[in-house]
Symmetry: C2
Subunit: 333 residues, 2 copies
């Protein structure tokens, strides 16, 4: 039996088909439709699940359920997603689980996109050997998650907001409206705003040149990586600043939680990889109360597939329902 | 059957005798002997346990065990305490459990002093209604503990070092040798160093006058409380600064952990009480990602007895051993 996981993002929909052992046996990646509203996004997710099943050489009858990792606020009971600002025209509250269940005929599990990404790294990725870890996911914003005894700690539902730990009182403006949060230094959106301000002040950079060359409208993770390759002063300076802030926040979190591992993921985190994780570790050590017990600081191992794999993990392992009289279909099973 | 808890501090030894329902039925508080080395401290603890039993109208035969909350590094297997800088002449590693067991004839459980204080607040004090809490204990230093699902989260053994979360990069010097830790602003030792520096620079304060009048050699919690009562400018300013730092660190911790409650304890925290906790809550709110879900911020409810009560909780509930043939002594029980 197979599970599908959908990683729903503002620019792309990634689907993974996962077997009982956690192997990815099929996948599909499509752009998120930008001009057909929430219904278009839901239709696209259903289509992508079918394509991924076909990629796995399987059909809908092999599917036990679909997990969807989504931005915004999730309501499990009603199967809705609200306040998903990154999704096109996603105003108010949108029913997601109902329409998808109707189309695919299996249970749909909604979950927070960052939380499923962190769980995937814990169960199948870089965090696998560890009982406790902190995930720090740097993308447009900075999200995260805490794994304790191999389970995600959700608190009252919102734990893991490592991006809004304060690293500098009255520091840089954060997209959340506050100041000095980690995300104000290490989130792509804030880093881009800072880069544009510096350009206005007359600073030189190849960042926006690379962006245009790549036919992007935003400074994507690929743009930052390319600019670093070219030793662009502004890119190097802003990534140094992100590393500084990540080191500070990670150290405070480790002093508080004493986890075994810190896993750096997200679009930017995965793109910059192990050298980035190593630099964050080095920035963290001076602030650790027990530097001799520095935890592992690792780059996320599942890359772009982590979110979809984590979403698939949300589907309960279920045995096929028994026959009409309660007989088990296959006595050899 | 009764359990004894010992809160071992640099200046005092507090013992509580706790019954099966968690009620304190006897207690004893004596100064920590300063001139007889570790052996004198151990003898004093044994004597204080006996006095507290007498206070409870009980004897050693009613005792199932003794928990000891100690500063320094605890080794459970060997029953030793090392690196307890606050204890008189406590150099190297000292056997504590062995000699106490020999004197009292019951099992001895050693534990970290702050951790037992946090657990006492969680199980019997201000944190009792909550499944998750963060304890922040302000005394000479700033310690803490995280309770998740009613259990202390220890990480790899050192979780809860909220005092060494960084609140200001390159900020005030901390007794730990780093800069900008919470403890550098909200620990009594650091606050006293800052006050002495300000006096050297010519600032006026009644803090040291009050200290002498109270026949103290240090700025104790009582000295700070008295100076605040008198609206002493320096005391008000330094406590404002502590509140600011506590609000920042607590907000970062709550954004990360989303606990239901924050409990402010320790000598200084208990002395300044609910108004202090309220001010920390107000200082925290501007930095919370979900201010509408501000957790409860409460003053520790057990006061000076919390440490001893928490230490007693470390003793396993045990039924009295059965008679020689396995008979239960009292069939009515």
């Amino acid at each position: 039996m197979l599970r599908a996981g959908v990683d729903l993002g503002g620019t792309k929909i990634q689907v993974a088909i996962v077997d009982a052992d956690g192997n990815v046996v099929g996948q599909c990646r499509i752009p998120t439709p930008q001009d057909q509203g929430p219904q278009g996004v839901i239709d696209a997710m259903v289509g992508a699940v079918r394509s991924a099943l076909a990629d796995a050489g399987a059909s809908e009858s092999d599917l036990t359920g679909v997990g969807v990792g989504s931005p915004g606020q999730i309501d499990h009971a009603s199967g809705t997603v609200s306040h998903a600002g990154n999704l096109p025209d996603w105003l108010g509250t949108v029913e997601v689980a109902g329409p998808m269940r109707q189309a695919l005929g299996v249970p749909i599990e909604l979950a927070n996109d960052v939380q499923v990404g962190v769980m995937a790294e814990s169960q199948l990725g870089a965090g696998r050997p560890y009982d406790s870890m902190l995930g720090i996911f740097c993308g447009t914003g900075v999200g995260g998650g805490i794994v304790i005894h191999d389970e995600l700690w959700l608190g009252r539902g919102a734990a893991g907001e490592v991006g809004h730990m304060v690293v500098e009182p009255d520091g840089a403006p954060c997209p959340c409206g506050r100041r000095g949060c980690l995300e104000a230094y290490a989130g792509r959106a804030a880093m881009e705003i800072k880069a544009r301000k510096l350009v206005k002040k007359g600073h030189k950079t190849s960042l926006f040149h690379i962006m245009k060359k790549k036919e992007r409208t935003r400074l994507s993770s690929g743009v930052w990586a390319k600019a670093l390759e070219q030793d662009d002063d502004m890119a190097v300076g802003l990534v140094d600043r992100a590393v500084w802030a990540l080191g500070l926040a990670a150290a405070s979190a480790v002093n508080l939680l004493d986890v075994e591992a810190v896993v750096i993921g997200g679009g930017l985190g995965c793109r910059l990889g192990t050298p980035f994780a190593d630099r964050i570790r080095d920035a963290m050590i001076p602030h650790l109360i027990l530097p001799e017990k520095t935890p592992q600081v690792l780059s996320a191992a599942l890359g772009d597939l982590g979110g979809a794999m984590g979403a698939a993990l949300r589907v309960e392992h279920t045995t096929p329902p028994p026959g009409p009289l309660g007989e088990v279909a296959d006595a050899d099973a």
